[in-house]
Symmetry: C2
Subunit: 432 residues, 2 copies
């Protein structure tokens, strides 16, 4: 398709809102604009919404991708004012109020940038090339394939050191992703791998490292929860290394800033994210963490009719003078808030409400039957099995669609009873 | 790994049976050799068994790959005499009794070739390049992606003719695969696509062609069932073209041997299969359909200690003077029979029993709630909802593993009630 042609969307007398990105923020916004007096165009590079909090379960072969993603078209069936286009936005022209995509260009009256964040390698190209990221369901699948492949290879590798290089896993980053990955890898080590690979000596040979730059894991959570999570991980046999940074990884050897090295061919990079603003925006719209500076109404600094929400947005408010945490809850609340301002206040010429984030708490799970939960008001922390059940319930409730809820629930139940995932499949395209 | 080194399998005083291919035949054979006085090595290019009869449901977004494949390691957990290696066999040396693989070489006392069949393009390289095959779960997924991608593209394609090229599907081959695909595509056309793509005029624009070289579809089945299946397809709106062959396809235009053409960018090739014998066998072992000529004991002609079973084997017996049909039932019975001959007769120096195929009947499903079933003795044919229920039951029963049975059943039930699959996801690796 020639990008100078116009994208094929019906003409409408309504103002057009274009939302770029169907993650938690963009999707919530589109849902809140169903039947509104706007023509809404949702553009995403995929045809599905991804439920990011469970990527690590896909990577660990606990869930299938289809259980945690949801096709946009199914979600908006019968919603006449919502148009879905699968494309990558290549450029935005704020003066012409126009987006470029491989499907053609697209005009907007209001542009919502909900493009989220991508893995941040802090400029280290070697780490970008050599480590495994986990910011999409496809990357989670690739990680699963890499782990299973290396186990197969280890079977036919005679030397102890060579074999250990293959089976050991180094996870960089002690945030929720890193901690949850480490916990479920440890469960796999204990309950699944010894049965699948009796020829290997999993217990002695397989090490899981979690490397964290600061002196606590789960930095955004309470000290209480951080300590508990650390204890849980250590009970599961994860080697947690605090106050260390990975400085280099050549594909076989991980170097830490204190001079130590770890021999491993598999490094998972969960050490940071950066915003993904659209190409074409002026440089002065961009601030900390490669995010777009927005005011309390989500308006991108200096732009007309351009808004940002979720992980790509940086907003200061009195309770959050350094911006909000880059988590699903913030994105969802921002999407809903902006949709209401546009739908009920902009359309009637009323003045807009400023955004205020309501922290509902945070949680992380560490393997089977253990989690930590922080509730902000009244402040309250708890862990263990109870926290794990709360975690299960909250995530199950948040997953879109009856079918997905049902299948995720059954998978969890089945795995819990059997201590054993069935999804250890290495499925990848094969050239014809 | 250097292929001159030996594959890493423990030394054993037992004779070694190497099975190449874990399809219906190879898998059945390995299962029947559990705890036998043999060391059994199962080599497959994947780490999972694929349930081929349901590939078409994966292609039509009705089932997830994980519901119809099963990891070998899980299946043989705790079976000490079974060793699984994921590799492609690149060469067999019948004199040295040795296989070559990228993992190293592997000696055998008995070699079982259960490599099955691949798509046959009858030497037409253009068709091989341009059409979509469906002989693996990965190819089924790629077909799903192609169909969904083309629908997305059609949305932004203004011209009627260009759009029709994108959405029309041509299926070549009126065997079970072609018929079942055409039936479920027709269901998708009626029940799913109009809701997902209200902007397209699915009813008028989307045509499904099924092209069959002979004068009946489902040639291996009774005349009764063939006619019924044809009627069902036509009721569903499939355009069945009999007595025609596809001679060329340039990616946009399908040419038939009677001079007719069909404009379509998507041609699914299900018109034939050919055996996949291992490289290195002498040419005179190969006979009709690129299959290995075997006697009633599965011994490959002129070879010592080499056997073939399933789709890759060609055996004549009085009831089947032109060989057996290339279906799962034959492969399963062959695998079981050969395992018994080796386990109970060879080991004790007794004379072997010749193989005899017991035809248990055949069936095919055409969309939702319709199927045809042939029972051979006493001869009996039936169709409709009852046949469909039998089809469901038989396939559910044949799928390995409780979890997979449960998930397939729930998916079917869910889709039946909702007339709507949730799995319309375009998931593919993205380069880093």
């Amino acid at each position: 398709m020639d990008p100078t042609t116009k994208i094929n969307i019906p003409e409408s007398p309504l103002e057009r809102i274009v939302i770029v990105g169907g993650g938690f923020g963009g999707l919530q916004m589109a849902r809140k604009l169903v039947k509104a007096e706007y023509q809404v165009v949702l553009i995403d590079r995929n045809n599905y919404h991804q439920f990011q909090p469970l990527f690590y379960q896909v990577a660990m072969a606990g869930l299938e991708p289809s259980s945690i993603v949801f096709p946009f078209r199914k979600l908006f069936q019968g919603r006449d004012n919502i148009f879905i286009r699968m494309a990558e936005v290549t450029h935005v022209d704020p003066v012409a109020k126009q987006l470029q995509t491989p499907l053609g260009h697209c005009n907007y009256d209001h542009l919502i940038i909900a493009t989220g964040a991508d893995t941040n390698y802090y400029g280290n190209e070697e780490l970008e090339r050599q480590t495994l990221p986990m910011k999409s369901v496809v990357e989670a699948l690739q990680l699963r394939n890499a782990i299973l492949d290396d186990y197969e290879d280890a079977l036919t590798t005679p030397g102890y050191d060579d074999r250990q290089e293959l089976v050991d896993v180094v996870i960089v980053g002690g945030g929720a992703t890193g901690v949850e990955l480490a916990g479920s890898l440890a469960e796999m080590k204990t309950h699944v791998l010894p049965k699948d690979y009796p020829e290997l000596h999993v217990e002695e040979e397989f090490d899981i490292y979690l490397i964290q730059s600061g002196d606590v894991i789960l930095k955004g959570m309470s000290a209480n929860s951080s300590e508990k999570a650390l204890k849980y991980l250590e009970e599961l046999g994860v080697k947690v290394i605090l106050n260390s940074r990975v400085t280099a990884f050549d594909g076989r050897l991980v170097s830490l800033d204190d001079g130590r090295t770890i021999a491993s061919q598999k490094v998972i990079w969960a050490a940071g994210i950066k915003g993904m603003p659209l190409p074409g925006l002026p440089p002065d719209t961009i601030t900390y963490g490669n995010r777009l500076a927005v005011d309390r109404f989500h308006r991108v600094r200096g732009m007309d009719g351009i808004y940002a929400i979720g992980d790509v947005a940086y907003m200061e408010e009195p309770d959050f003078p350094k911006g909000h945490p880059q988590v699903a809850q913030v994105a969802i609340q921002m999407g809903e808030h902006l949709a209401k301002n546009l739908r009920y206040r902009h359309a009637r010429g009323e003045s807009w409400e400023p955004f205020h984030y309501h922290d509902k708490g945070s949680m992380a799970t560490i393997g089977r039957g253990r989690a930590v939960v922080d509730i902000p008001k009244p402040e309250f922390h708890f862990g263990g099995v109870m926290a794990w059940l709360v975690w299960l319930f909250v995530h199950l409730f948040a997953i879109l669609g009856t079918r997905n809820k049902l299948f995720v629930f059954l998978n969890w139940l089945y795995n819990y009873i059997n201590y054993n995932q069935s999804l250890r499949l290495i499925i990848r395209p094969r050239s014809k």
